[in-house]
């Protein structure tokens, strides 16, 4: 209800939703290392942009940390061997969370190996120029760990005519169930701050703000303690609300600015990084390592041992599930959080750089989505939820009438970033977000066809 906003304590953006967060299952559990799977599958396209190009050949032995593929262009990053072992194949097709199979390098793990990282080229980041930093970030194979998996070094170079004044550090973690960023902020605070310093230097930004949702005030406390002697960096609690972690929303909450429609944060002088991304950068770049593992939250009703695990990139989901005690094959697996994540159809899908969590639902749990779909009753809930202030009710009716062009031309379809708030609240159970996704892809198809 709108008037409750009068009493709110922390900064936020208008609209959004408050799903049950279910974070208590894992928030208190420290990050643990996962054993190494006997076979690793490292897809060559794990991020937006061009896929990486293999540097190895089948039968070749690789050491954990060694580059096995190079960047396929500027908007692309190299891959590093997640384990010490032997390359078995270069373009094995493995299923991906998105559906279609993609080529991956298969590495058979040496079971007896200690799996120490055997490849690093330490650097003195204080001596590096911004250009060198950008290159170092790319060489580390960093992509956004917040979910979008966009190559991180690209964001360090604002487009012509723009400059970055503020770095916004995204510690919101607004998705239900996920707590990996929370643990990173608590356990890897120094690395995080080092990463922030590095990014500020690379971009020339004078200021950085860490935005953390107010359900993680312990993290705010720890960071604030460490920031005492760090001028230019602030930490701020924001209201717990989905999708507080979306960069546009976080910018609005913290800075009161809006990213122009169709634009990027750099257009208003802001760069947004996930806390996990920066903590990794703060660790990897000085040591000259590549990104070979990440923290993944495994949680949900279908998991016996939920927790935050340090998972090597390329670990197949089936192995992960075995380790956490999710036995039933019939479970519903979601990669990412329940609001934005993908349902996976196969246990062969490997963990990639962008996977922040795996949520497991039991197959027969009473399922709200299976309810019948009614026509839109014009309740307006979706309008009150949409953080972009679209009119999902009207867009939904237009989608049902297949007026995809009208949706785009008159009702800002392309501003929808598929956060799922409208589908979440709709009492008629209309799959609005899903409709919009389809509408966009059909518009894209017709445009390329034309």
């Amino acid at each position: 209800m709108g008037f409750l906003n009068l009493f709110r304590r922390h900064k936020t953006f208008p609209h959004g939703i408050h799903p049950d967060d279910h974070k208590e299952q894992t928030a208190g559990l420290p990050i643990r290392r996962l054993p190494f799977a006997p076979k690793m599958y490292v897809p060559l396209a794990q991020h937006r942009g061009a896929p990486a190009k293999p540097l190895v050949h089948p039968g070749q032995e690789v050491v954990r940390g060694e580059p096995i593929a190079e960047a396929g262009g500027f908007v692309s990053v190299p891959m590093h061997a997640p384990v010490t072992g032997v390359v078995r194949a270069l373009d094995r097709l493995v299923p991906s969370a998105q559906g279609p199979k993609t080529p991956a390098i298969v590495i058979e793990t040496y079971a007896a190996d200690t799996q120490r990282v055997g490849w690093e080229m330490p650097r003195d980041i204080d001596q590096m120029t911004p250009q060198e930093l950008v290159q170092a970030v790319q060489e580390a194979g960093m992509v956004g760990l917040g979910g979008a998996a966009f190559p991180s070094h690209v964001k360090l170079l604002p487009p012509e005519g723009r400059s970055i004044g503020t770095v916004v550090v995204n510690g919101c973690e607004c998705e239900p169930y996920l707590t990996c960023d929370h643990r990173v902020m608590l356990e890897q605070t120094d690395r995080l701050i080092r990463g922030i310093r590095m990014v500020m230097k690379a971009t020339g930004a004078g200021r950085a703000i860490i935005g953390v949702e107010d359900n993680k005030l312990d993290a705010v406390g720890v960071i604030r303690e460490k920031l005492k002697d760090q001028p230019g960096i602030d930490v701020e609690a924001v209201e717990t609300k989905y999708p507080q972690g979306a960069e546009k929303m976080l910018i609005t909450s913290l800075l009161g600015k809006e990213v122009p429609s169709g634009g990027i944060p750099a257009d208003i002088g802001v760069a947004v990084y996930n806390v996990g991304t920066l903590a990794q950068l703060g660790d990897l770049v000085p040591r000259g390592r590549g990104l070979i593992e990440r923290v993944v939250t495994v949680s949900g009703p279908g998991v016996a041992r939920p927790g935050n695990y340090l998972v090597p990139i390329g670990t197949p989901l089936g192995f992960l599930m075995q380790q956490v005690g999710s036995s039933s094959e019939a479970n519903e697996l979601i990669m990412g959080g329940p609001m934005m994540g993908m349902a996976v159809a196969s246990l062969e899908v490997p963990v990639t750089k962008g996977v922040s969590g795996v949520v497991v639902f039991e197959p027969d749990a009473p399922d709200l989505q299976r309810r019948p779909i009614h026509p839109c009753i014009k309740c307006g809930e979706c309008l009150n939820a949409c953080p972009i202030h679209l009119n999902p009710s009207l867009l939904g009716e237009l989608a049902a009438a297949r007026e995809y062009r009208v949706m785009e031309e008159s009702y800002h379809l392309n501003d929808c970033f598929e956060c799922g708030c409208c589908s979440y609240v709709c009492p008629s159970n209309i799959p609005l977000t899903q409709y919009f996704r389809i509408a966009k892809s059909i518009n894209r198809e017709t445009r390329t066809a034309a």
Binding site: A400, A401, I430
Partner: protein, 220 residues
């Protein structure tokens, strides 16, 4: 217009019947709706209006057809309007002479026959291209179709709204009239209901027997 006969037509039964069913000006072509709705709150009004329109249709059709070779293309519409207005003025005076009550009940709608699209439409699309015979027969058909449509509305509205037909009590004196039927919304509703009925019959006929195809347009 549904048909634009450019060649000379023979007078057949169809020339007459077309206006009654296939090309009924009201139910099919949705022309001349204003008088249809406005004066049909009683049967007698409907009849008077129907006959007046019929007369103007036939007379102007005949005259237009007679003069069709003399009227230059550029001024034909103006000419038709003058011809129609002439006949309407005549009807107007004649009705005043017959009954002032009727005249008052029909109000301005007699004079508004001038702008009734049915008449101008017939003059333009048919009478101006045909010999007098077919023109008159066609106009008779159209006029009759129009009158029938008026009657369809007039009787329903008077019967439900007043319990009478042509002023004669049909139901028991205790019948509670549905006043709304003789009020403006009733006009819209009754005409809408007739159209619904025709559409329903049409769709039922068009549908192959036993087909279970839903009427649902799309699922959402």
């Amino acid at each position: 217009m549904a048909t634009l006969p450019n060649r000379q037509e023979q007078v057949t039964l169809d020339t007459f019947l077309r206006g009654i069913w296939e090309e009924n000006p009201v139910f099919v072509m949705l022309l001349g709706m204003c008088p249809v709705l406005a004066v049909t709150n009683s049967t007698i009004n409907a009849i008077a209006m129907g006959l007046a329109t019929l007369f103007v249709l036939v007379a102007s059709g005949a005259l237009v057809s007679l003069l069709r070779k003399l009227i230059p293309k550029q001024v034909r519409i103006a000419t038709y309007i003058i011809i129609i207005a002439t006949f309407v003025t005549m009807v107007d005076y004649v009705i005043q002479a017959i009954s002032l009550d009727l005249y008052n009940a029909l109000g301005a709608f007699i004079q508004l026959i001038v702008v009734n699209c049915v008449i101008l439409g017939r003059a333009e699309a048919y009478a101006s291209k045909q010999r007098v015979g077919p023109a008159v027969v066609n106009a008779l058909g159209m006029g009759t179709g129009f009158t029938i449509a008026l009657l369809c509305l007039g009787t329903v509205r008077e019967l439900l709204g007043n319990g009478t037909i042509l002023g004669i009590q049909v139901f028991s004196s205790n019948f509670e009239p549905w006043v709304v039927m003789v009020l403006p919304p009733g006009g819209f509703f009754v005409l809408g209901a007739w159209l619904l009925l025709f559409e329903w019959l049409k769709q039922r006929k068009a549908e192959p027997a036993g087909a279970a195809e839903g009427a649902t347009v799309h699922e959402s």
